[in-house]
């Protein structure tokens, strides 16, 4: 779910960089407000590398397999570090394997990073909005929402960008139909991402709960 170079116009690419610049500035401002921001840098960096590697894990769905994005999970675990982490991960992917692109780096980072920040805020509300639920249901439910919405929102942005930018001659009704059909097709993927995030967060809660406190 990365937009390669050559698809989007220079204006859209520039707008993507502007949004990414703003979101990075906001994330770094929140990070610098922490008591010791440098202390969290090695943790966020190694987890960024680990997420980048973990996104190569495929869930087998014979005869094919489902590729995980993990941006919701990144938001849940890394908080405000999630946006810089996604930006760096996408930069590596563009440079190392040519996945995504340099001109589309801003658009791709905004597309995956903003839903990750949304997932972080959803997960942080588990103790206020989910106070009527017991543990571990509360953590599991909010992790599911974070994971599923992280992917769901990113998929919606991806589809809207692709369909509105590629075929200039496609009529409006066909565009709307295509967005709707492809969005519905992404619902099972969002469910898989949500369930995987829940399983992983509950595992971390059991084995290493301090990872979820960041």
């Amino acid at each position: 779910m990365h937009i390669p170079d050559g698809i989007l116009s220079a204006q859209v690419c520039a707008a993507g960089y502007a949004v990414t610049g703003l979101a990075t500035w906001y994330s770094l401002r929140q990070i610098n407000r922490q008591p010791n921001p440098t202390a969290a840098v090695p943790k966020a960096s190694l987890l960024t590398a680990a997420f980048f590697v973990a996104s190569s894990i495929y869930i087998p769905v014979p005869p094919a397999s489902v590729h995980l994005i993990l941006n919701g999970l990144l938001g849940v675990v890394l908080g405000y570090f999630a946006f810089p982490a996604i930006l760096i991960g996408l930069f590596f992917q563009a440079l190392v394997i040519g996945h995504g692109g340099i001109t589309t780096l801003g658009v791709n980072a905004a597309m995956m990073g903003i839903p990750a920040l949304l997932a972080y805020h959803i997960f942080q509300r588990r103790n206020s909005l989910g106070k009527f639920l017991g543990e571990p249901t509360r953590t599991g439910l909010f992790a599911f929402l974070g994971g599923a919405l992280g992917l769901g929102v990113a998929a919606l942005i991806f589809l809207a960008l692709i369909i509105l930018n590629i075929p200039a001659q496609l009529d409006g009704e066909a565009e709307r139909a295509a967005v709707l059909t492809l969005s519905i097709a992404h619902i099972p993927l969002a469910m898989v991402e949500g369930v995987f995030t829940t399983m992983l967060v509950l595992f971390l809660r059991r084995v290493k709960p301090e990872i979820l406190e960041g």
Binding site: D5, G6, S45, A50, L70, G98, I166
Partner: protein
């Protein structure tokens, strides 16, 4: 991860290798954006020619580009197949239920042309500049300290963590994971749980390692006034060759944008007169 040969060609000697990293980064990124503005088919050969000339000057082998084109090429391949058959009203040819349309074909040629040209420039940048040098160049252009440190540390541990995952997956395979037959279009809950634990273990190991890394960095002064792990490397002043190459590439970028504007205006005038 397909990254084994990332730095293989960075120590060669060519004019692009000798180009000052900071000027090279600025010039190639500006040219990439100029390529992204192209909407006129007539400019595609010029764009491809420019990218091919720079690639030729870099002395990088064709196999370096070919290896890296295979992955993103899948998405582009889907567009190449779909667009000429679905987009546009001008029919170029019909074979049974297949209809080749002019507008879709033009859109495809433009997308493929831009994709190949921009990607080639990206690989010229990567293939002729060591990653650390590139990071220093970005830092000197104003990359924030936290981003620079995170990029450096993530890159340092990326391949180590990838090797860790390979070992863990091998261990799982040896214990019988993935050998059981699964029903088609069915996600096995147990399989998913085991994969979640695999990813979780990877995160825990990385988290524990990060603690050791942080302690080692603190002992070396990180956080006590040393502003960044990347630092500001004193860079040599760009030579005449670097300024010359920068001038040529930036002029080409500006020329492309101007040509695009002129051609678009001409095309719009033609369309208006036809009405």
């Amino acid at each position: 991860m397909g990254a084994a040969g990332l730095d293989t060609y960075v120590h060669r000697d060519s004019v692009i290798h000798r180009w000052s990293p900071r000027l090279k980064l600025i010039s190639l990124v500006v040219l990439m954006f100029a390529f992204a503005t192209v909407r006129q088919l007539a400019l595609v050969p010029w764009m491809l020619g420019l990218a091919a000339s720079l690639y030729g000057l870099s002395g990088l082998p064709v196999v370096f580009l070919r290896q890296r084109l295979s992955y993103p090429g899948l998405f582009i391949l889907a567009l190449v197949v779909l667009l000429p058959l679905t987009v546009g009203d001008t029919v170029l040819g019909e074979w049974g239920w297949l209809t080749l349309r002019q507008e879709g074909l033009v859109a495809t040629l433009l997308i493929v042309g831009r994709f190949l040209s921009i990607l080639t420039l990206g690989f010229i940048l990567l293939g002729t500049t060591p990653f650390l040098t590139l990071l220093h160049a970005m830092r000197s252009l104003g990359l924030p300290t936290i981003l620079a440190d995170m990029t450096l540390l993530s890159y340092r541990y990326l391949f180590e963590i990838a090797a860790m995952l390979t070992t863990m997956q091998q261990a799982m395979g040896l214990r019988g994971f993935g050998h059981k037959r699964q029903r088609w279009l069915h996600i096995n809950r147990q399989t998913m749980e085991q994969l979640a634990m695999l990813a979780g273990n990877l995160l825990i190991r990385s988290y524990e390692q990060s603690d050791r890394v942080y302690r080692a960095m603190r002992l070396r002064g990180y956080g006590y006034g040393a502003r960044s792990a990347v630092g500001q490397r004193a860079t040599a002043q760009p030579n005449t060759l670097s300024w010359g190459l920068t001038g040529v590439v930036l002029a080409a970028a500006v020329a492309l944008v101007i040509a695009e504007g002129i051609l678009r205006q001409g095309w719009m005038c033609q369309a208006w007169m036809c009405q």
